[in-house]
């Protein structure tokens, strides 16, 4: 049988390093011809993300106020179960802790899923792709260097849409994709970067985010209602509210937290319900992409023109796969081909996996050096908790602000979080270290192309632990 005689040796194959004998460990599982542990793709990921559990969990490098969110929910729910439930079970019904428990579990699970799921990050273009795109654009024969034009127009459902060129990712962004400056990634169907969950909200985790805020509204309203009932029952018989509060001080704390958060969270849920029903993203809504501001007759080309179908397509559509293949192994020749910055990244990425404290402190110093972002006044309406965002950066933060009851008040976008963050960050540093050490035992929420392995999870997690701890020895 004649086989194709491609005899020329690929010059790139010659650049692979000759294997050296392993230093001390001879029984690494995946060792083929390389002496080093083969790297997984998450270790050389160019975006500003952190990975846990050997690449199964992904979160933004700046985790924002996620610990605060978790803390608030745990504290409020804990106080509810300790102070209010016994009384209410005795005087009303035992369904109350059950309902509360179900809502609480829902909230925590969906919060963790929103935070640790890949939001729909687009991998950066390979050098070949990038060269091809530039060639296509610059085929006028002009030899002098000129940056590619920034936009390309496409017709989507008879609507002209401009696709922008992303200089960081070196590709034309697909429609509805936006580059998050905080995470330094292009995210598909980019909604906003939410500091409360410490991650971007995009195509893959929008449904988790929506379920989170809806169930959180129910939980907050439920706790608020129960606490009010509890205090009212205690204050009966002329005893007064002060007496009731003295008897159950935890309820006072819950009352305050719930009172301030229920409005903003209900508002946010309402806003996102509107977005879901019209198949819009926060980003598009704020920029007014389809509202016809420019006077043209523009409609949303992605809407199915039917509320039910829009809702289903956003919330019930098949779960798209993660495109960044975090746990795949790097081919030996490609690790040499990735850009210069990527070669430095492995040490940074692995270090940051272990030593979250120093990473966070460094990030803190970096962010403190940044000039405060501009303070646009928020719209007065309560539902509009997301801030209007001029196109400095596409990262839009949703800001439920439980502490401030005055809508958005003077709460700027990320600037306030960054400026006000020193005390919070130092407090949460220790929590972060503990969390990195604990390795939250949720296996992958999203399955990459290779099948997930819940059964091999603990085993590979153990390997991942070892991998993380041995990495600096390389």
């Amino acid at each position: 049988m004649k086989n194709c005689e491609y005899q020329q040796i690929d010059p790139q194959a010659l650049s692979t390093p000759t294997p050296t004998p392993p230093p001390h460990q001879g029984n690494e599982p995946e060792k083929k011809t390389e002496p080093k542990r083969p790297k997984r793709k998450w270790e050389v990921f160019p975006g500003k993300n952190r990975f846990y559990c050997d690449g199964r969990l992904i979160v933004a490098r700046q985790s924002g106020v996620l610990p605060l969110t978790v803390g608030l929910i745990l504290v409020t729910s804990g106080l509810f179960f300790i102070f209010d439930c016994p009384f209410l079970v005795k005087h009303l019904t035992s369904c109350i802790p059950v309902i509360g428990g179900v809502l609480f579990v829902f909230v925590i699970i969906t919060l963790l899923q929103t935070s640790f799921t890949d939001p729909g990050i687009l991998p950066r273009a390979t050098p070949d792709e990038a060269a091809d795109i530039e060639k296509q654009i610059d085929n006028t024969g002009n030899t002098s260097y000129r940056p590619p034009p920034r936009t390309k127009e496409v017709l989507i459902n008879q609507q002209v849409v401009k696709l922008k060129y992303c200089f960081t990712c070196k590709m034309f962004r697909p429609p509805r994709t936006s580059h998050c400056s905080l995470c330094d990634n292009c995210v598909e169907r980019f909604d906003h970067h939410c500091p409360w969950v410490g991650n971007c909200v995009g195509k893959r985790n929008y449904r988790f985010f929506y379920t989170f805020i809806v169930s959180l509204s129910f939980l907050t309203a439920f706790i608020f209602g129960c606490v009010t009932t509890h205090l009212a029952l205690r204050a009966q018989g002329g005893k007064g509210l002060v007496f009731a509060l003295q008897e159950s001080p935890g309820s006072a704390v819950e009352l305050v937290i719930c009172f301030f958060s229920v409005w903003s969270i209900l508002g946010l849920s309402g806003f996102h319900t509107y977005l879901v029903a019209s198949n819009l993203t926060t980003n598009e809504d704020i920029k007014g992409s389809w509202s016809g501001k420019s006077g043209e007759d523009v409609t949303n080309p992605y809407s199915h023109k039917n509320i039910f179908i829009n809702c289903c397509s956003v919330l019930c559509a098949p779960m798209p796969p993660s495109l960044i293949d975090r746990r795949g192994f790097l081919p030996a020749d490609e690790s040499a081909q990735t850009g210069g910055t990527d070669i430095e990244l492995p040490t940074l990425a692995t270090k940051s996996e272990i030593n979250v404290c120093t990473q966070g402190t460094k990030g803190l110093l970096e962010s403190a050096a940044l000039p405060p972002l501009l303070s646009t006044s928020c719209p007065q309406g309560k539902p509009q908790t997301a801030h209007p965002c001029p196109d400095i950066s596409p990262a839009v933060n949703s800001d439920p602000s439980p502490e401030l009851s005055t809508g958005c008040g003077a709460h700027h976008r990320a600037s306030s979080h960054r400026d006000a963050s020193p005390p919070r960050h130092t407090k949460t540093r220790s929590k972060k270290c503990k969390r990195a050490a604990l390795h939250i035992s949720n296996p992958a929420f999203d399955a990459p192309v290779s099948p997930t392995s819940p059964d091999t999870g603990p085993g590979s997690k153990g390997r991942g632990h070892k991998g993380a701890s041995f990495a600096p020895l390389h």
Binding site: F106, Q113, I133, N157, V161, P174, V449, T452
Partner: protein, 141 residues
């Protein structure tokens, strides 16, 4: 899988790479342009190539299809706080496996004998179909 195919064949020089871009005329669903690139004119039949891309488009459309099955899956997932995604393989993933198998088949039967290699779009973030053109050292059979 296409990587292993690449490793198995003796190292050949890459003459060029052609990228088939996405086609957004129907929105954000994953579809690729069926326009036949000029660099492949000497290597493969236009009908054949367009048939491959059309088949891939159909497979991706089926993966993302909004039908009663996906609604039921979605509602069930929501009721269980999406924890079913940890245990079950989603419809999309099943389709991706099918697609990978199809591309492997196409490579083995049609493209490899012509000195071409299709890269699964999932390895390029579903942005492009990368067609690698190898230098032709001998006549194809």
């Amino acid at each position: 899988m296409t990587h292993s195919l690449q490793d198995m064949r003796p190292q050949a020089a890459v003459a060029a790479k052609v990228f088939i871009q996405r086609d957004y005329t129907n929105g954000t669903v994953c579809q690729f342009q069926t326009k036949f690139p000029s660099e492949l004119e000497t290597r493969i039949d236009k009908q054949q190539f367009e048939e491959t891309v059309r088949m891939l488009n159909n497979l991706y459309a089926e993966a993302e299809k909004l039908g009663s099955q996906s609604y039921i899956e979605g509602c069930l997932a929501c009721l269980t706080a999406y924890t079913v995604f940890l245990c079950m393989e989603t419809h999309y993933e099943k389709m991706l496996k099918k697609i990978a198998k199809y591309i492997q088949e196409q490579n083995d039967k049609i493209y490899a004998p012509r000195g071409l290699l299709l890269t699964d779009p999932i390895e390029r973030g579903l942005r492009v179909i990368e067609v690698t053109i190898f230098e032709d050292r001998s006549l194809t059979r």
